[in-house]
Symmetry: D2
Amino acid sequence: MNTIGSAVRVTLFGASHDSRIGCVIDGIPAGTPVDTAKIEADLALRKPVPGIGTPRVEADAPEISGVVNGCTTGAPLMITFANTNTKSSDYEALRKMPRPGHADYPAVCKYGASHDIRGGGMFSGRMTTPLVAAGAVMRGILEPLEITVGSYVSRIGRVEDTAEYAPAALSASRTNSLRAMSEELEGLMREEILAAKADGDSVGGVVRCMGTGLPAGLGEPFFDTLDGEIAKAVFAIPGVKGVMFGAGFAAAASRGSENNDFYRMGGDGAVQTLTNHAGGVLGGMASGQTLDFSVAFKPTPSIARPQQTVNLEERTDAELSVHGRHDPCIANRGAIVVEAMTALVIADLLIRGGYYG
Amino acid sequence: MNTIGSAVRVTLFGASHDSRIGCVIDGIPAGTPVDTAKIEADLALRKPVPGIGTPRVEADAPEISGVVNGCTTGAPLMITFANTNTKSSDYEALRKMPRPGHADYPAVCKYGASHDIRGGGMFSGRMTTPLVAAGAVMRGILEPLEITVGSYVSRIGRVEDTAEYAPAALSASRTNSLRAMSEELEGLMREEILAAKADGDSVGGVVRCMGTGLPAGLGEPFFDTLDGEIAKAVFAIPGVKGVMFGAGFAAAASRGSENNDFYRMGGDGAVQTLTNHAGGVLGGMASGQTLDFSVAFKPTPSIARPQQTVNLEERTDAELSVHGRHDPCIANRGAIVVEAMTALVIADLLIRGGYYG
Amino acid sequence: MNTIGSAVRVTLFGASHDSRIGCVIDGIPAGTPVDTAKIEADLALRKPVPGIGTPRVEADAPEISGVVNGCTTGAPLMITFANTNTKSSDYEALRKMPRPGHADYPAVCKYGASHDIRGGGMFSGRMTTPLVAAGAVMRGILEPLEITVGSYVSRIGRVEDTAEYAPAALSASRTNSLRAMSEELEGLMREEILAAKADGDSVGGVVRCMGTGLPAGLGEPFFDTLDGEIAKAVFAIPGVKGVMFGAGFAAAASRGSENNDFYRMGGDGAVQTLTNHAGGVLGGMASGQTLDFSVAFKPTPSIARPQQTVNLEERTDAELSVHGRHDPCIANRGAIVVEAMTALVIADLLIRGGYYG
Amino acid sequence: MNTIGSAVRVTLFGASHDSRIGCVIDGIPAGTPVDTAKIEADLALRKPVPGIGTPRVEADAPEISGVVNGCTTGAPLMITFANTNTKSSDYEALRKMPRPGHADYPAVCKYGASHDIRGGGMFSGRMTTPLVAAGAVMRGILEPLEITVGSYVSRIGRVEDTAEYAPAALSASRTNSLRAMSEELEGLMREEILAAKADGDSVGGVVRCMGTGLPAGLGEPFFDTLDGEIAKAVFAIPGVKGVMFGAGFAAAASRGSENNDFYRMGGDGAVQTLTNHAGGVLGGMASGQTLDFSVAFKPTPSIARPQQTVNLEERTDAELSVHGRHDPCIANRGAIVVEAMTALVIADLLIRGGYYG
């Protein structure tokens, strides 16, 4: 349902055009610092790109309860955001004419007339705002253990960033709203998005996420694995269509002698691998190497161009042009959400495994 | 941990060389038929390929309790298999010399000297035997709702099957142990595996899985989504490195106008789509179209060729040749496990959503 | 942790002197009516008794999100209350001098200096406000199934109400703030409380709760039983020390021929019992007869009289007089909380068992 | 359902006359010793009293998997018992003529014709055999933390043991099959049971359970409290009708100045209380004093005397004499089950709270 996690649980509430959205975070050990500035820094990376993204801009000022003297008390945290910039009149017609690529049709099948269709209701990308805040809170658990999580956009449409980066370098992507790793790439990606926008269209993208410092063995086999929990968490992000770790689908075309990561004893006595085709996961547990996975985002389904749909009342074919305020690309805004979900999973597994608290 | 599912829960027990492996299945509504012949038919598809796969062949005869007069009683089912064909002496040396690509190293980090390393312990592919049995039991829930789950091997190493098949056609893959869709492909894939084997090597592969009849709306947003639960379940299968639905990573390179699946009203009054780039999932719920996803299996990490590793006791580099009995490819045996995990997830979501029982 | 329920889950947040308290209710089927007037009617029964109870009176006006057109949408509900009438300066000294009978000492052991001791923090009876609201929401699930839950105070200190009442008669207790079944009993109980108050003391009490219309078989053996889930839920209410169903502890002194409830076929073709020593529960499931259980509340631990305690800093004995604003009896205010927890458990088991939604 | 626990989970399977019963225990940290002799010693206390109890005597020899070199490996444990001494023909007639005081009627309402009625199916006291084994395994977690759990029978019918005992003294009850604290009480209780048996009747009883060494703060408020989890676990034992901690229902008749446990600083610097009316629980957490609670068992519902029932097929009144093999009292056999359930809850809360592993 609307709760994720086992030892640390995040329960989401609200909807795109509801008065409030937010989450309750339960299970954070007492005394964990909560730094509002860091939460706001992560929230800033989720905002629409000026001049490209949706003109719906919310203040996204978190109201937090459950923190005393800057730390958790053992009671749950509640983080909430007011929704102020809503235009619900845009949406009512969509109840009978579902938007292609959106949750409208299955949501109406599931919830019937009760479905809150305004702004996509609980299926809106708006719901990722409290998730980013929760992820930022989790960094307070990761930091004392020297665990980092970063990401960047490795593809927007036809523009692909094929370079390899050290995990520490990923912070470069936090300096631009496209989460690109260089000014040049930022420019190319911006052009790709603007070209789609000019056509009344949208583009997809790929986010690559890396984590360092995860203790070897982190994860709970057989089912609550590091990769499985990350995959589940990431598929909850609207628009995600694929997740792969390390070599991913390329591993399927390779041989074991190529794909296996050979061990070497590092100079500092740490066990290392020569390659990281495993993406930092073996047997569902952290391997001790860099966590490394990629996430495919589909193009935003809301496009201005006319699309074929159906009229569910009249049971006829129909045509639809989606108005409202939308992003022509969500992968760049999704990058910080991927980080947040990853931080949530790691924090949960750390506590479950007895590594923290 | 070792339980998956919410309304229907499967709890796994045992280890590769333990006296027994098995699972407890809780939450199946009373009166659900349990057909031993169907369980055995699915188990047969998990067996090693004669002449190619591991010579460790277990009888895999399920002992089932909790069934009276061929039906469940409301009490849990317990399915267990005896392990008889074990050679534990093969493994003890690996505790200090972890096999590349295996769970050995993180498992020893996590569980220390207590880790049962014989045959990979609880990380062995052997653990998928009770999962296949559980999946076959779930078909008893799916069948009265006319829901089907099938799969085939769409790639082994360099051999790729790029054809598109109707879901009903996938049963063709059940006639051969490589789960190929034609005799010709079976031959090519067999050659690819034998070539690797001749080199003391292994190959990876891709399994494509399809499901039909899932009611539009199946899945529990925001987190317990159809795609997220499938992804988590599938990543529990040893060797899986990637999961993507429909167009998957290709969607990231496309535009919304290409990727959106336009709706059409079918002749029978059913809502249809012209394409299925979504792979049957929208907003985390079944879209009403065919469930369609692909799973990447890495090459078997156990290979005869010498590999570089480390000696954890002496903290030095070392070399290792993996003996024991292994498959040069696991994707084909993994196909029925993917189906089983998918059936588990669908059955669980059906009961959670009030569609069954 | 701070979540109760399985199919319907209530997650509590906040603390006695936090800015907000509230809860998130997840899993309520879409289209369930939410009646604010009924929520407020139940909240009114939780208020302190004028002239007897604590002078801390909060407005207890619920702010609800997740309701559109008076019904749930399938998304979670969030109900929150502002805390306005707090005097936190009363409490800081208690961190080192724990109040006898309160959670102070174990809470400081558990959470250390991070424990929010203001007003008892998350251990305050104040936390039952959102639970009463959640229980009132659950009545929206129970009502269409003609399931009722009522209660009354059967004992305050030495005043015991030994009469037997039909479940339908219990609504009489809603007319007075002591939840007594007659004006006479209300008077006697009021005197008992006032006498204790005059002595700077407090008194305990017993709440008896009844439910009708529960379908025979409701409950999930072996562990998630009707009686076990109610017991767990009720022990979460501050001050509860015992729970017994039907004859309860008296059954232990009886013989089977006395205690067994003999079956009779009712005139309307319904299976009835001549007695209800089982309290409406057999084998962990509803028996089809009236649910009937009693809950013991201890006397309010906060009393004005000086008490012996310890000084945790100086590791010495100490004396303490508890100031602040407290009720000399909580059983009467607890009655509606017992009802709420019972409604929560029944609603959860109804949905789990497929009886609703 | 059939799983209890959060960090340590016990999943029960089987039924009274099924081929096997048993449980899977998941979440025990690797390296926890498993001592078969201790398991068998606890199982011996669950056996029927020679000359009084049911002549159905099972060998109760546990088969355990998941243990290597006497310790857990991190994988789940599976403990199973063969059912050999079953006489299923005794039971079939009860499907239409439910036994008063048994689960027959609600079970048939819930599961219909699929209910396994042989020997009570999954509602049989037989199911407590694997629970006692699981409890004995949990002592392996409690012992290194110097936590003990013991119990005795404080009442059988009219014979009540009103003495107060130190927790360490309770082991005296392990020397006799009535779990009485003295030979004299054993004799009186035996007579009480034999007198009922001679009348074709049965008697109830009370078990008092104590635990020492629980760290102050153990328990997870707001809902997963120490007392709430114990209550839920104990109500799963067939025949339990009431649970109270410390003064329990007597607290409801007392004043705060009497009922509060005053703190004193012990000679060894430990915080002590002058009394223990709280039964070792405050705010849902261990108070640091002795855990002390009582459990009411009803008289065995199976009695030889004729009883009134109904014929569910013919919808008429009927008369029934219960044959089969039954105990005239179950409280004494239930004592070790209460201990087992308590050990399970404590072990679970220890791991959840980070006190172990």
